[in-house]
């Protein structure tokens, strides 16, 4: 039986504590800045500085031809605008790094942080159940991670609208973008978080938990590279299938986490 009041009580505390934890927020803000700024250098600043338009790059043109079906309205854009739409939509995958980095960092500070601050024992001495504790811990890191991701995405789209060719931003507002931002992003973050919390419940050092969570960066980077080269096209249908698969994995991880979370071991073995 889950008591929502207890989950919300701990959740409020988690969010309040995180908002004051600059060392945890800084890496996420840095990643958010890099993933937002980098595509503007590639698609706008770079070509302007070198004097070589993107539309003059034969390899990019070939890739764009392969994936043009996945970019609605791209055929109505100028050649340079079409290339920018291609670059900006590919880099959108990289914004998923923001919630994943947030999840990894915040989860690392989660249970291990409580342990290092010696605040876990009084917390465990309350009537809070293991499920409630884990739910609050995961949600407490997920909500700020997603808030930062939505903020980053909003800034990204606004930046595209302001600095890219006309129509590029509109071309990016597709169901696939929605799937990435509202579906795959949050679900990948949730998975990274679940792994981070799970690991942080078994180790003594936040860095160990973060290293396990960092494994999630690899498939994201792989997905980005494959998309850039045109070797892999993330269609809407495939994206939804992946989303459903990730949801199942998350549920299994949650159940596994509750099963292996040993209150006693945390109190008696952690030194």
């Amino acid at each position: 039986m889950i008591a929502p009041a207890r989950v919300f009580a701990l959740l409020r505390k988690e969010v309040a504590e995180l908002s004051r934890n600059r060392s945890a927020l800084l890496p996420v803000i840095v990643v958010g800045f890099i993933t937002t700024a980098l595509p503007f250098f590639v698609a706008i600043v770079g070509p302007q500085m070198t004097g070589h338009a993107l539309s003059g790059d034969r390899e990019l043109l070939e890739t764009l031809t392969k994936v043009s079906g996945e970019l609605p309205g791209v055929d109505r854009l100028s050649p340079e605008g079409a290339m920018q739409a291609f670059i900006f939509s590919r880099f959108l995958v990289m914004t998923l790094l923001v919630p994943v980095t947030g999840a990894i960092t915040f989860a690392g500070h989660s249970l291990v942080g409580e342990k290092l601050g010696r605040s876990l024992e009084p917390l465990l001495a309350t009537p809070i159940t293991t499920t409630e504790l884990l739910l609050a811990k995961v949600a407490g890191a997920l909500i700020p991670s997603l808030a930062l991701m939505f903020l980053t995405t909003a800034i990204y789209i606004a930046g595209v609208a302001m600095f890219a060719e006309p129509g590029v931003a509109r071309a990016m507002l597709s169901p696939k973008t929605a799937l990435l931002v509202l579906g795959l992003g949050p679900m990948t973050a949730l998975l990274a978080l679940q792994v981070g919390v799970l690991v942080s419940a078994r180790v003594n050092d936040p860095r160990t938990a973060q290293q396990f969570g960092a494994l999630f960066i690899l498939p994201l980077t792989g997905l980005f590279m494959a998309q850039m080269s045109g070797a892999f096209i993330l269609s809407l249908g495939l994206g939804l299938t992946i989303l459903a698969g990730l949801a199942v994995v998350w549920l299994l991880l949650l159940l596994f986490g509750v099963a292996i979370f040993e209150r006693e071991a945390i109190l008696t073995r952690w030194k």
Binding site: A5, R20, P122
Partner: protein, 309 residues
């Protein structure tokens, strides 16, 4: 209020607590004494429902401690852990509010406001816990422990590392809890504190070596010393004292001290015998053995460090 029967706890192949039995009544302060690694914290954690005993059973506030009832038991207990364990980045008020909400108290803001006032923390409500002194942190931790007004209060080293003023505040609070009918277990290394506060003490070294009031322990182990001051040289009266039941008599000028097995029953016959022999008695005082001596007699004087909980 607390009934523990044959509690034992084994970690791997190491026995942390072995066959511990005790009761604590409402309004009673029970002191847990013992060296590091003696099993004091493990015993408290078992009673608090934080760890399960390997064998034995316990009930807390009438609720038997089982896997099914453990969450309910935790709601009946206030457990002050050895470290204050506050969330340093949050204010005193937010720390307490979070716990009030975790205990699902009906009006958390009002409960916290009362607690802040009761513990003299109202002016520090908006201070970050990281900015507080050790004594103030401990006060916040105690306020947190008592927010839900638990019938059972467990205090693990509550005055450890505190300055004398802060320690006195804590001791006064524990006495107040006793007066209000809470059952209190206090684990401490401070023998003087245990003697002054506890109605009964349990000297623990994995198992209880003794459980009794400090006075009873003293009598049981050493008997009691009596010191009589006379108007003249006391040495002629040693034999009279021994005939009247005193032993281990020591004379120092006009003072004569000796041991009685039962100070209350044994003193009047000795005094009567002395007066009958013509001794001019100025004063008769009991000369209690310090609890520290009793403690070392029970546990020995090696550290007992085992590194356990």
């Amino acid at each position: 209020m607390i009934a523990a029967r044959h509690l034992s706890r084994v970690f791997g192949d190491r026995s942390a607590v072995d066959d511990v039995t005790f009761d604590v009544a409402p309004g009673e302060i029970f002191g847990l004494l013992g060296p590091n690694g003696a099993g004091k914290t493990t015993t408290l954690r078992m009673v608090a429902g934080l760890i399960a005993p390997t064998s034995g059973e316990a009930s807390v506030a009438g609720v038997p401690l089982t896997r099914q009832t453990i969450d309910k038991v935790r709601g009946q207990v206030g457990f002050l852990t050895e470290a204050p364990g506050l969330w340093d980045r949050l204010t005193v008020e937010v720390n307490l509010l979070t716990y009030a909400r975790l205990h699902q108290l009906s009006d958390p803001h009002a409960v916290v406001a009362r607690a802040l006032e009761r513990f003299g923390l109202s002016d520090r409500a908006t201070s970050l816990c990281a900015e507080l002194s050790k004594g103030l942190k401990q006060r916040v931790a105690i306020a947190r422990t008592l927010l839900h007004d638990p019938p059972v209060v467990l205090l693990d080293e509550p005055t450890s590392g505190l300055d004398p003023q802060s320690a006195r505040v804590v001791r006064d609070l524990v006495r107040e809890l006793k007066a209000r009918g809470h059952a209190v277990i206090i684990s401490t290394h401070n023998l003087d504190e245990a003697e002054r506060m506890a109605d009964r003490v349990g000297v623990l070294r994995r198992t209880f070596l003794a459980v009794a009031s400090p006075v009873d322990l003293r009598r049981r182990l050493f008997g009691s010393r009596v010191r009589i001051v006379m108007a003249a040289d006391a040495s002629p009266y040693t034999a009279i004292v021994e005939r009247a039941g005193g032993r281990e008599g020591v004379v120092s000028g006009r003072e004569l001290s000796f041991t009685l097995d039962d100070i209350e029953a044994g003193t009047p016959p000795v005094v009567a015998a002395l007066v009958g022999a013509g001794a001019a008695i100025i004063s008769v005082k009991s000369e209690d053995q310090p609890l520290e001596d009793i403690y070392f007699a029970l546990v020995g004087d090696e550290s007992g460090e085992e590194g356990g909980a």
